[in-house]
Symmetry: C2
Subunit: 197 residues, 2 copies
């Protein structure tokens, strides 16, 4: 229905996560109305991500440089490793400004429903790094796959590094969360993990 050039762009936008036909049309029509220079910058930003961005060889996070900024930072606690699913989780944690150790990005979670096995993830490297660490904090999501991965890593790390402290981030009521809106699993966690005031 649309001219070929516009239809091609709509199909490209449709491949983004959660974008349907209507949204893709809206994006493409907005692009059609932008100044050419702006669209060229967008176009170059796409290619640059593929040519410049790669995984940090140490922790698996995304970086433009050789190693990522966290791994390069000599002021951070190098014996503490925070294990997450994806680069987004690193950014979320860095925003808190509270954490001074290193990260390890698994790039996925073990998932029977999606057929993702431990060998598909960045786990071997974690075991190597854990041998020099004091504590590994497992910070996968509080979902089925996140818990499965956490349990797998806990067992593996304790076997490979007997002296290592393996911890899991706390589960409980989120900030601003109201007791009567919380689900049973959250409340059970909040009760089980209660601490002295």
């Amino acid at each position: 229905m649309y001219p070929q050039s516009l239809q091609t762009l709509i199909e490209q936008f449709r491949r983004l996560p959660g974008v349907g036909e209507k949204t893709a049309e809206r994006y493409a029509l907005m692009i059609a109305e932008q100044p050419e220079e702006d669209v060229r910058q967008f176009s170059e930003a796409l290619v640059n991500v593929k040519t410049k961005l790669h995984r940090c060889p140490v922790c698996g996070n995304l970086t433009d440089g050789e190693e990522c900024d966290v791994c390069k930072d000599k002021d951070r606690d190098r014996a503490l490793i925070f294990v997450v699913q994806s680069p987004r989780d690193v950014t979320a944690m860095e925003r808190t400004g509270e954490y001074q150790g290193l990260y390890h990005v698994l790039n996925g979670l073990i998932s029977s429903s999606k057929g993702i096995l431990p060998e598909d993830l960045n786990i071997d490297q974690l075991v190597e790094r854990a041998k020099q660490a004091r504590e590994v904090i497992i910070a996968t999501s509080a979902t089925m796959d996140g818990e499965t991965t956490a349990m797998y890593l806990d067992r593996l790390l304790k076997k490979e590094c007997p002296d290592l402290l393996v911890t899991r981030i706390a589960h409980g009521l989120p900030a601003g969360g109201m007791l009567d809106y919380a689900d049973e699993i959250t409340l059970s966690h909040a009760l089980a993990d209660r601490r002295a005031m």
Copy 2:
């Protein structure tokens, strides 16, 4: 927080309509994981839209060619003009397969809140085309701005082309619409525009 190349792409995605920080991150991280060839095609599709796409000189719709496909089609009723706000409306109408006349795309609506005046729209050309037409169907949305524009065009066209039939698309209950969920304005329209069965 993210590497520069990724951050730049996130900012580009944020400029799309309705895209916030989280969604832009999700889009950019998906791009980072796609094969380079796919991302290059996306990048080229963006630039192609700016270099190939332009407005049809007759009706104002978007086209890659000289005139748009509808204006070029000699089998269509050239004395019937369907007036819409945007190219998306043309596509929506063409999907019905019911309409055999031509279109006219205003590229906006008269809007006091957005400060859009009649001279900002593709209206002069509509008046010229209307002089050769039998009927002009005004199909702007059933919103405040859509109704304002419809009333303005009705008055202008009747003054400039006294023999022209000016019509407005029907307002009423949408397909699948339930009476008890319809708002009062829709119901008033549905009552006023009732027809013999």
